[in-house]
């Protein structure tokens, strides 16, 4: 009989959802839509950072350097200025985020003997000003500019060094010393495991799946409050249906919809974004189900604890959406948060969701690698439903 009850509630809940085209659209398509839109917008590798050049040297060599800087994907030379105010204004107006100052004497240093002497002891004749407002892109832009400039200088010097004795006024010791300075001490080979080309999309899309899946959890947070406000809760609690049947029945359609979303988003991730999937598909769906159950458990708790619909929605938003992007591990790894913040993230299913998704898509992990996150989600789900069951009373007030 209990099964029939759960089924009855689930069927009724399903009809409620279906009868409202807006809701069904949002629940069923919403997450996928979010995945598509946001991933496309946000998965930007740092490119086209607006760069301004202050070329005091005005030589062929400096022009060459500028061309090379512009040729990089990361930087985009937008303007040349003639004085300091010129670039300071641009920085202030956000028209430029990076300024490359090529100082007077740049080409001298690389072509005359005195210049060459000074290379070992003094600063290069170029400098940078960077807008530190967004440190992540600033560091990347800076790194690129420094690398390109440094490489440029090295290439110049290399050419010089290898020129036959007759063409330059270089002494053999100078030549030897230069050769030595030009050589990097160590040859570093870097490989990136799991994401060799460092594609931001690969990084973002799996995490976004976890974040988008909080929508069902948020929608469920008003199911009890809604019945209360419509007056139907009174009828329901006057019947012999058990409170567990009510809760489980209500959760059921949302679980189904969420799983449907998982399938859709998986397809989008693979077919549209080309993200590799290296884990076990069945395990992935099982774990996604667990993740969904955890978010629904919390949503259900909110729905029982909070009587007013708006407050319930707000609370669920604060729990799921506010920390969603920045604390989920999507952009900043949770590893580096202060310990207390890490503790707080324990209760956020989305953090485990991000790790599971990234793990299964990119890393090809198996259950034993994810045991900690699985355990967390299990605890949240089980405890959540249990507390919900205990707190929910079949009463009006």
């Amino acid at each position: 009989m209990n099964q029939r009850h759960i089924y009855a509630i689930a069927k009724k809940e399903w009809l409620h959802i279906i009868r409202d085209p807006m809701t069904i659209f949002l629940l069923a398509i919403g997450p996928v839509l979010m995945l598509l839109l946001i991933s496309y917008a946000m998965a930007t590798d740092i490119t086209d950072v607006p760069t301004v050049i202050y070329d005091q040297d005005q030589s062929d060599l400096s022009a060459n350097l500028v061309t090379q800087l512009d040729a990089s994907d990361v930087l985009n030379v937008t303007d040349h200025v003639n004085n300091t105010t010129g670039y300071e204004d641009q920085l202030e107006q956000r028209k430029a985020r990076l300024v490359v100052i090529i100082e007077d004497g740049f080409s001298d240093q690389l072509t005359t003997t005195q210049g060459l002497e000074s290379i070992a002891t003094s600063a290069p004749r170029f400098s940078f000003v960077i807008d530190g407002t967004d440190p992540l892109s600033a560091e990347t832009a800076l790194e690129t500019a420094v690398n390109i400039s440094g490489q440029f200088v090295r290439n110049q010097l290399n050419t010089l060094v290898e020129q036959p004795q007759t063409e330059t006024a270089m002494l053999p010791e100078q030549r030897q010393r230069l050769r030595q300075q030009l050589r990097a001490p160590v040859d570093i080979h870097t490989t990136n495991r799991f994401n060799p080309d460092l594609k931001a999309i690969w990084d973002l899309v799996p995490a976004m799946i976890a974040v988008a899946l909080v929508l069902p959890g948020m929608s469920i947070s008003t199911v009890i409050a809604r019945e209360r406000s419509q007056g139907t809760l009174e009828t329901l609690v006057a019947t012999p249906i058990s409170k567990h049947a009510i809760l489980m029945g209500k959760a059921f359609p949302y679980v189904l919809i969420a799983l449907l979303n998982v399938v859709l988003m998986y397809i989008v991730a693979r077919a549209v974004f080309g993200v590799p999937f290296r884990g076990n598909l069945l395990v992935y769906f099982a774990l996604s189900g667990l993740y969904v159950l955890a978010t629904l458990a919390i949503g259900l708790l909110f729905s029982i604890l909070i009587k007013s619909i708006e407050a319930a929605l707000w609370a669920s938003m604060m729990f799921f959406l506010f920390p969603g992007m920045l604390l989920s591990g999507m952009f900043f790894p949770v590893d580096v948060f202060p310990f207390i913040v890490k503790l707080e993230t324990l209760e956020l299913p989305v953090v485990s969701g991000v790790l599971i998704n990234r793990g299964m898509f990119l890393q090809g992990v198996s259950v034993k690698d994810l045991w900690w996150n699985i355990l967390l989600l299990l605890i949240i789900a089980v405890e959540g439903f249990e507390i919900a069951g205990r707190l929910f009373k079949k009463r009006i007030a």
Binding site: G231, E234, T235, A238, R395, I396
Partner: protein, 320 residues
């Protein structure tokens, strides 16, 4: 069947000074098979009483049993054979009549052929056949009430608790509704109905009059009417307003109750008839008619309430 012992319910917090006593020490007994009317104005405590009996609201103090099951500890058992109809429309607005009934059938485990048969019966009963596929939000008020009643009857409960089932319903539908109730009663169900309509109360076996949470009187309609000391005269005249004022100064008049274009005057006996006429003509009131009329529960109720208020005012003054 139903027995309550000093059943009480308060809302709000005493410290916050907004505490209301909705039901105050209610003790009554309703035997099996009775059609019991719970009567009183808004805020009298009828809904709260019914909710407590239905097991969906916990009493603050006192207790009650239904068929010897405690309403708090054994609420779920009671709900198995209880049919409850709340005051506001309690079914799902975006579901059709059919879907709502099927849902309730599921909950009460009415399945298979029995379900089809039962739904058919209920739709017959309430004349809702042609609206079977209509969303309940598109039903008229009366139809919604009938649907609510059907939902309460699905499992043929032996106790029905109906909270103002006819409020807001047109007279024809009201009549139909009470015909249904009478039939149910005839077949042996115990029914507790709350209503603000005194004329409906007349149809009950016994009536409980509630006011400000207290049970002021509880007996058959006939016996209740006998509580009214004296005789009721109905006055038709011009300027009833002035007449009321005048009569209220008359020491031998027990009560004056306006009722539309009639003024009901309660006097100890017929001997006061002439005195009334004289008093009124003295003040230049043209009497169209002044006739004795059989007392209705309405008059009884108003009289009782006024007595009660007079007494409690006296008490307050004593303590002031």
């Amino acid at each position: 069947m139903i027995q309550t012992h000093r059943l009480s319910r308060t809302f709000g917090k005493r410290l916050r000074r907004n505490q209301i006593t909705a039901v105050d020490s209610l003790s009554l007994t309703i035997p099996q098979g009775e059609l019991f009317g719970l009567v009183g104005p808004d805020g009298a405590g009828k809904t709260t009483t019914l909710r407590m009996l239905a097991g969906i609201l916990k009493p603050t103090t006192g207790n009650a049993t239904i068929s010897d099951h405690d309403i708090v500890d054994e609420a779920e058992t009671i709900k198995q054979s209880l049919g409850y109809m709340p005051q506001q429309f309690g079914l799902y607005q975006d579901l059709t009549v059919d879907e709502n009934l099927n849902f309730i059938c599921d909950v009460f485990n009415v399945v298979g052929a029995a379900r089809e048969h039962r739904i058919h019966e209920l739709l017959d009963f309430t004349n809702l056949h042609e609206f079977r596929q209509r969303r309940s939000k598109h039903l008229s008020g009366g139809m919604q009430k009938k649907l609510g009643l059907s939902a309460a009857l699905v499992h043929k409960p032996n106790l029905l608790l109906l909270d103002e089932p006819t409020t807001g319903v047109d007279p024809v539908a009201r009549r139909e509704f009470w015909d249904i109730l009478t039939e149910l009663h005839a077949s042996g169900s115990t029914i507790v109905v709350s209503t603000p309509y005194m004329d409906e109360a007349e149809r009950c076996n016994r009536v409980g009059l509630m006011y400000e949470g207290k049970l002021m009187a509880c007996d058959t309609p006939l016996k209740l009417k006998q509580l009214l000391p004296g005789v009721v005269y109905a006055l038709r005249a011009d300027d009833l307003l002035r007449a009321e004022r005048i009569l209220k100064t008359n020491a031998s008049v027990l009560d004056v109750q306006p009722y539309g274009d009639i003024l009901n005057i309660i006097v100890p006996d017929e001997s006061h008839h002439r005195q009334l006429k004289e008093q009124l003509s003295q003040h230049d009131i043209t009497i169209h008619s002044l006739r004795p009329t059989p007392p209705r529960l309405e008059e009884v109720f108003i009289y009782l309430v006024r007595q009660y208020r007079k007494d409690s005012n006296l008490q307050q003054e004593q303590f002031a």
